[in-house]
C-alpha cells in the first residue's frame, strides 16, 4: 500500500520548494515583527487616536481566519492600489499584480498581531530600572530602546519568534489558493500526477518535521549564546 520509492521521489520533489518557502516565511516574519513592534509601541505609549485604531485592528487580525483575510486581500488590494495610483496619477495594471505580493502583505499584517503580543510580553520582561538608568545617563528614548531595551527583550522573544516562524511556514499552505506553491502545495502537485496521496502527504510531513527539528536546534543554540551574556 505504501511505496517507499514514491515517497522518496515526492520527498526530493518537495525539497526543491523548501528554500522558497523558508525565504518567503522569513520575509513575512521580519515584516510582521516590524509592524508588530510599531503596534506595540503605539499601544504601550498610548498614543492618542492611533492607540484606539490599533486596538481594533489587532482584535480583528487576531480574531478572523487567515483564509478569509487572504481572500479579502486578494480582491481588495489591487483595487486599493488602483485607487491610490489614480490619486497619484501613475499607471497600475491590476491584472499584472503578482499574487505573491498579496500573500506577503496580507500575511505580514495578519501575523503582526501575534508578533505584537510576543513583543509586548518581551518588553514586560525588561525591568523598568534599566530604562531609568539609561535616562539618568542622558540617553534619548530612541537610544534607550535601541541600545538597552531591545537587546534584552529579544532574548525573551526569540523562542516565540521561532514558534511564529513555524506557524507561518505551515500557514503558507493556504497561499496555494492564489497559486503560491509551498511545501504542502508541492505535495499536492506531486500526487496530482501519480495519484499517490498517502506517500506525498507523508513526504510533506517528513519535510515539515525535519525543518522544524533543524530550526529548533539552530534557534536554541543562538538563544543560549545570547542568554549567556545576560
Amino acid at each position: 500500500m505504501f511505496e517507499s520509492n514514491i515517497f522518496f521521489q515526492d520527498f526530493s520533489g518537495i525539497l526543491t520548494v523548501v528554500p522558497y518557502t523558508l525565504g518567503l516565511a522569513l520575509l513575512i516574519l521580519i515584516l510582521g515583527i516590524l509592524i508588530g513592534g510599531i503596534l506595540t509601541l503605539i499601544d504601550q505609549y498610548k498614543i492618542p487616536f492611533l492607540f484606539q485604531v490599533a486596538a481594533v485592528c489587532l482584535s480583528f487580525l487576531r480574531g478572523t481566519p487567515l483564509l478569509v483575510q487572504l481572500y479579502l486581500a486578494y480582491y481588495g488590494m489591487p483595487k486599493l492600489i488602483l485607487f491610490f495610483a489614480g490619486l497619484l496619477n501613475f499607471k497600475f495594471d491590476p491584472n499584472q499584480f503578482d499574487p505573491v505580493i498579496t500573500v506577503i502583505v496580507s500575511y505580514s499584517i495578519c501575523f503582526s498581531a501575534f508578533q505584537s503580543e510576543i513583543i509586548r510580553g518581551a518588553f514586560m520582561s525588561v525591568s523598568y530600572g534599566q530604562i531609568e538608568a539609561a535616562h539618568s545617563l542622558g540617553f534619548s528614548s530612541v537610544q534607550t530602546l535601541r541600545r538597552i531595551v531591545i537587546p534584552q527583550a529579544i532574548i525573551e522573544a526569540l523562542p516565540n519568534f521561532l514558534n511564529s516562524y513555524l506557524t507561518i511556514i505551515k500557514s503558507l499552505s493556504l497561499a496555494f489558493m492564489v497559486s503560491v506553491v509551498d511545501i504542502l502545495a508541492k505535495a499536492k502537485l506531486e500526487s496530482a500526477l501519480n495519484f499517490r496521496y498517502l506517500e506525498s502527504f507523508a513526504a510533506a510531513a517528513a519535510v515539515y518535521w525535519l525543518l522544524c527539528a533543524m530550526l529548533t536546534v539552530v534557534f536554541r543554540r543562538y538563544e543560549q549564546n545570547i542568554r549567556k551574556k545576560a
Binding site: 509601541l41 504601550q44 505609549y45 498610548k46 482584535s59 480583528f60 487576531r62 480574531g63 478572523t64 481566519p65 487567515l66 483564509l67 478569509v68 483575510q69 481572500y71 479579502l72 480582491y75 481588495g76 483595487k79 501575534f114 503580543e117 510580553g121 518588553f123 514586560m124 520582561s125 525588561v126 525591568s127 523598568y128 530604562i131 531595551v149 523562542p159 514558534n163 513555524l166 505551515k170 499552505s173 504542502l184 502527504f201 510533506a204 510531513a205 515539515y208 518535521w209 525543518l211 522544524c212 527539528a213 529548533t216
Partner: protein
Amino acid sequence: MKMDFGYMIKILPGFISVLPLTLVVILCSGLFGFLLSVLVTGIRIKRVKIFSPLMELYISFTRSTPILLQMLLVYYGLPVVLSLIGININNWSGTLFAIATLVLHNGAFLSEILRPAYLAVDEGQKEAADSLGFTSFQKLTRIVFPQVLPVALPGLGNALIYLIQDTSILFIIGVVDIMGTANNLISNDFGSRQIDVFLTVALIYWAISYMADKFIKYFERKTARYHLENGLTR
C-alpha cells in the same frame, strides 16, 4: 467590492444554527487539550523515563506539521492503529475525530506554554511549601499551579484564538461547521457572492474571539493582584 448587506443578514441564521456545534467543539477540545497538556508538561518536568523523550517527539511532530495533516492522520490512521489492538472506532462520528485531533494538537501546543511558565515560578515558593510539610500533590495544586496561571495566561489566550480558527478542520471530514456552512453557501450559487459570505464568516469568528479574549482578560484581572509587572511605562 460591493457588499450586499441584505444577503449577509439573510445567511446569518444558517451560521447561528451551527454555532452550538462549533462552541461545543471549542469547549471540549479546549478543556481536554488543556488537561492533556498538564499531563504532558508533568512528564517532561519530572523527566519520567521513556515517556519524557516520547513526549518531546510528539511535541516536535505536532508543532511542525500542519493541522490538516494531523486531522487526516487521526481520521484515517487512528482507526487502523486501534484496530490492531482490537478497538473499533469506525463508528465514531466525524466530530469526535475532530475533537480528538484538536485535543492531541493542543496537548502539545499548550505544553510549550505551560512548561516555561512553570519554570518561572520562584524556587523559594516550592521550598516554602516543602518546609511546611506539603505533599508533592498539595504543593502542585495549592501553590505552584495558581502561580503558573498568570504567567501562562497570555499564551493560553493566543492558543484559544488559534483553537477557534482551527475548528474549521471539521469541514475537511465533512462535518458542517461555520466554515462548512460558508462553503455550502459559496458552492450553491457557484461562488458569485463569496466576498459577502467570507465577510460574514469574519464577523462571526471575530465575535467568538472577542468573547474568548474577554474570558482570558477576566482571569488576567483576577490574578493581577499578585502579579508584579515590569514594562516600558509605569
